[in-house]
């Protein structure tokens, strides 16, 4: 029987084939290899859906794990096996659909954004997209931490290549370098984490009875024979360290503070790339990774609290910067950082489902917003400054309608998808935060970010689409075809409805069963389920839900607060910017605005670090050339100097040699004579 799971490798390989086709044959093909990419990603999408449906059909544990390839094996009794395998459970199946869906839509959109705009180097572009999609899918299906790390790095490479797509300009290559380097810095910790996991557990499998989260749980439960901790640390302490090390990679890839600075710069890449990589998928890799190995984090509450705090802080911190940006993509970039902060907050708050839920809705509405921004950018002849736009809503109704849907979702307005997921995050952070001050801090910051999010989102919408056109191009925007409108419409619909798959608040209020996503995610294999994680958290993390009054009142307070704040932010933006001739109100903030506009001088700080490193390198070079090589050359000069003196003896005159010979002989004879007593 042909089972869907046999085709899981094909999901990864199809885009890889499209990469090869685009790279080697792209220039001989119509549309520069785009069609191969569309066919491959669409094929992967269909296969992913099939896999996800098959998973629904599995009774009992919904999990499929298979080792496909052994990369390296040690020797001995219990050798380390470094393998590649696939792990399909509800989480990865969901992620597969998200990635393949957005990849397909972005490929289609690229026809409008790249091909129709007459870009050169299209085979390179589509090869990059294909390789990215393949690597990302490989990461999603990875069944162990090493494989995950490997594909994690590969998506970083693709991000580098695609950000730097316009390599003839000066900006994009620099941004690409920064993106790779900053994420590399995070990956450094991640790699230590991977190595530490191997050294500690002897395996890096995510699932199964011999997987490292399971072994970690056993160790925490008291059976320390299964692990080798380092420096004589307690298992919990050591796992916290390892968890934080892996978190380094997560912070880098998901653009969390303090490694978020690369993401706004990455907007130098083509807009479809921003939508695919820097909004919906690659940036989600960090969050997905934590969700993937959640069983491991669940036993180290300290790591989780730190995750929550970083997340909450990033959510607020990035949102404030989004308020003052002039370029449409910059606003979206900071909003992306901020939204991933929410997901981290959810993970830290123990709410694995809320994080995954927000990951999904965010993927849809943020990809939508980026593609919408792309459409606006096409219309504006690649001018991204919102202050040159205005009044576009009448000229591009499809874009406006979908962009508005995405914005409402991002702002968290009922009943758009973002409302459901963000509300769930804040609710969970709140109830667990009642018993944990660090979490409560995260919740407060997340809550503060809500009105700011609504404000900057609608500032963007009003500046772009409302009011009077503020430039010649805004009066006569460039048109575009179905390949732009199609993907926008699909995502627009999803941005509206995707939230309905997990209406937990409604369920709690009415009792109707509406938490489909929660149930789906709870049906995975043993140790990989939502309820399993909750049990772990309750047992080892001391996570306990608090309530204000009853559960329903708590729910209403949390939801009411976040919705009320979001609406407030929206109304402020409406008041200030929904006018024919808006002005830069943010300029009134004075110095605060400068600080925000310059991103809290975070970039300057990192540039400063980079320059200091180069200065240290220059000093090291001086030291090397002067001292170390100086010693070498010194030794050589000493011997050369000695030789130069010694060779003066060699006059070349036979007379001198003969004299020396004679003198020598005489001296020898005298010496013999004196010692031998000849003269006595």
């Amino acid at each position: 029987m042909v089972a869907a799971f046999d085709f899981v490798p094909a999901i990864v390989l199809l885009p890889f084939v499209s990469f090869l086709i685009a790279l080697f044959a792209g220039k001989y093909m119509p549309k520069g290899g785009a069609l191969a990419g569309i066919a491959a990603t669409a094929g992967s999408l269909l296969l992913s859906i099939w896999v996800a449906i098959s998973l629904l059909g599995v009774s009992g544990e919904r999990i499929h794990q298979e080792t496909i390839y052994t990369w390296a094996t040690g020797i001995g009794d219990q050798p380390w096996e470094l393998t590649f395998g696939v792990l399909i459970d509800p989480l990865s199946a969901l992620m597969l659909i998200i990635v393949t869906l957005i990849a397909t839509l972005v490929h289609v959109f690229s026809l409008g954004y790249m091909n129709d705009e007459g870009e050169t180097g299209l085979p390179r572009y589509y090869a990059g997209l294909g390789l990215f999609t393949a690597s990302m899918l490989g990461f999603v299906v990875a069944d162990n931490l090493l494989m995950a790390f490997m594909f994690f790095e590969l998506v970083g490479l693709c991000s580098f290549l695609l950000i730097g797509f316009w390599f003839r300009r000066d900006g994009p290559p620099s941004a690409a370098k920064k993106a790779f380097l900053v994420t590399r810095f995070g990956d450094y910790f991640f790699l230590i984490g991977v190595v530490a996991v191997f050294a500690t557990f002897g395996t890096a499998q995510f699932a199964g009875p011999e997987s490292f989260p399971v072994l970690a749980e056993q160790a925490v439960a008291g059976d320390t024979s299964v692990v080798n901790t380092t420096f004589g640390l307690e298992p919990t302490q050591w796992f916290t360290i390892v968890g934080l090390l892996v978190l380094g990679g997560v912070v880098g890839k998901s653009a969390q503070f303090p490694l978020h600075t690369w993401l706004p710069d990455a907007m130098q890449g083509p807009t479809p790339v921003s939508a695919l990589i820097h909004a919906a998928t690659m940036v989600a890799a960090g969050v997905y990774l934590v969700a993937r190995m959640y069983g491991f984090y669940a036993v180290s509450p300290t790591a989780l609290a730190i995750i929550a705090f970083i997340g909450g802080f990033t959510a607020l911190f990035a949102a404030t910067m989004g308020v003052v940006k002039r370029e449409i993509k910059q606003v979206l970039a900071y909003s992306t950082i901020s939204q991933y902060g929410y997901m981290m907050l959810a993970l830290g708050a123990g709410s694995y489902v809320a994080a995954t839920f927000h990951l999904m809705t965010h993927a849809f509405f943020k990809a939508l917003l980026f593609l919408g921004a792309g459409a606006v950018i096409i219309a504006m002849h690649h001018n991204e400054n919102m202050w040159d736009m205005g009044g576009l809503k009448d000229k591009m109704p499809v874009t406006y309608a979908t962009f508005l849907a995405g914005s409402l979702a991002l702002a968290g307005i009922f009943p758009f998808s973002g409302f459901w997921s963000k509300d769930e995050i804040l609710y969970e952070a709140f109830i667990y935060g009642l018993n944990d001050p660090l979490l409560l801090g995260g919740w407060v910051m997340g809550l503060l970010a809500v009105p700011i999010t609504a404000f900057y989102t609608f500032r963007m919408v009003f500046l772009t689409f409302h009011g009077e056109p503020r430039s010649e191009t805004a009066r006569n925007p460039h048109g575009f075809g179905w390949n732009v409108k199609g993907p926008l419409s699909v995502l627009g619909v999803l941005a509206v409805v995707a939230g309905f798959i997990n209406m937990v608040p409604v369920q709690k209020l009415t009792g109707i069963e509406l938490d489909f996503l929660t149930q789906y995610l709870d049906s995975g294999g043993e140790g990989l389920t939502y309820s399993g994680y909750n049990a772990l958290l309750a047992e080892y993390g001391g996570y306990e839900a608090g309530v204000v009054g009853t559960e329903v009142t708590t729910l209403l307070i949390a939801a009411g607060l976040s919705l009320g704040l979001a609406v407030t932010g929206l109304l402020v933006a409406f008041k200030l910017y929904n006018v024919p001739e808006p002005v830069e109100h943010t300029a009134k903030l004075g110095q605060v605005k400068d600080v925000l506009y310059n991103n809290y001088y975070q970039d300057e700080f990192q540039v400063w670090i980079a320059h200091r490193t180069q200065s240290v390198a220059a000093v090291a070079d001086k030291f090397d050339q002067g001292v170390i090589d100086g010693v070498v050359n010194g030794v050589s000069s000493v011997s050369l100097f000695g030789g130069r003196r010694m060779r003066k003896l060699q006059t070349g005159l036979v007379t001198n040699y003969a004299a020396l010979l004679t003198l020598g002989l005489t001296a020898l004879l005298l010496a013999f004579g004196l010692l031998g007593g000849w003269f006595v």
């Binding site: 990369w71 490997m150 530490a196």
Partner: protein, 507 residues
Amino acid sequence: MIIEALIAFTFAAALLVFAVPNKYAGKVAFGLSLVPVIGSLYMWSLFESGGNALTGGDIAFETIIPWVEIAGIQVQWFVGVDGISLPLVVLTTFLTSLAIVSAWTPIKERQSQFYGLMLFMEANLLGVFMALDFFLWFIFWEAVLVPMYFLIGVWGGPRRKYAAIKFFVYTNVASLVMFIGFMALVFGLNVETFGLPEITQALANDQLGTWFGIAPDTLKLIAFLALFVGFAVKVPVVPVHTWLPDAHVEAPTPVSVMLAGVLLKMGTYALLRFNFTMLPEQASLLAVPIAIIAVVSVIYGAMLALAQTDLKRIVAYSSVSSMGYVILGLIAFTEFGVGGATFQMVAHGLISGLMFMSVGVIYNATHTRIVSDMSGLADRMPVAVGILIAGAFAYMGLPLMAGFAGEFFIFAGSFGSTFLPYAPIFTALAMFGIVIVAGYLLLAMQKTLFGEYRLETDYEVTAAPLHDVAPMAVLLLAIIALGVAPWVFLDMIFDAVAPILANGGGL
């Protein structure tokens, strides 16, 4: 007999190429160099892994012929391979062929002598990796220097004489120290031959007596230090590395390829064969200082690379950095550590070879190697630049390429090492090299390859010719193949490494 045939053929090929007219020398040398490639691949196909040659495992393709007697100890023609040397033999033949092709463009005079010396060097390198008698090995070891000296000194850049003499004297003095140290050990051992297996096993059986009143343990320590110094120069590690950048900068591209790709591996190979196989207890004693040297080499070498403005110096210093990983893997003394170090020797040979070829292709086109003189080269030579970028990422340790495999094995092996105190800290420190390497390579790439094309030349910079790009493409394929399937070498390496670890007290 196949080893004799391989070495003899390569020597004969070298002589033949000396006699070929300059015009045809490159093509003839390439054709002849394919024979050792096929020969080594044939050896690989016949090879059956069976332990470590030195500790009493199977020695494949073994030949022993008594030669002369020195001070009552028999010198033999004793050759053979095991899982550690075979990958390096394959690397040597493979890289020599490609280096010869990459020489077609830059080498414009005295071609027959150039290619003859390249083949002569190849023959000696094969001897180094396959000889199992100390004297024989030492002859090959020293004989490698001679062609290298001429290759740098005759075909090199403006300061070629300085670089060639520095290289020759530095490494030769080091060899002398090593030789004396080893001789002390051998004379104290009371063995009948200079065969390395016999010496290793005698040492393992505690046959070392006092020699000139020096106690066995002191003697071993002295020998270990002398050997370490001798090999460290060859590797090279900080602080005895300064000959390397000079040699690389002055050497022509194909010679740099050989120097970084194979010659540096002689040092690490010998460290593994002598220091770590024969004297593991002394290695354990000196584990912390050696690990410090390794970490300093990694970080300091990478920092130096960051400060350079010459592309070739960047790659040269990064070799110092990469070789630091190998030392770390060796001193970790675990299966993955030592095995990964051996794997990294091959991986780094391929990757640094590719990097030097890429820099050479850029130099051929632009006649400069200074980073700030270039910009936007990707516009003019897309294929070569594409391969260069791939090679740079391989150097940074991108997964599914050979560099990552080697580095990951080393890190994974060293992190949990019980042989090396504070292993996790040393490992974590050394791993920071992967960030710095990304920093300097990305910076150099951004400045030279990307941005607007602004180079002012009185001729048109065009895409590189096929015979320049083809060896790069072949190397890239090999790097990817090894990264995807490291087991092709790793299995036999592990087989040969395991007895060493057992020899060191079952660690």
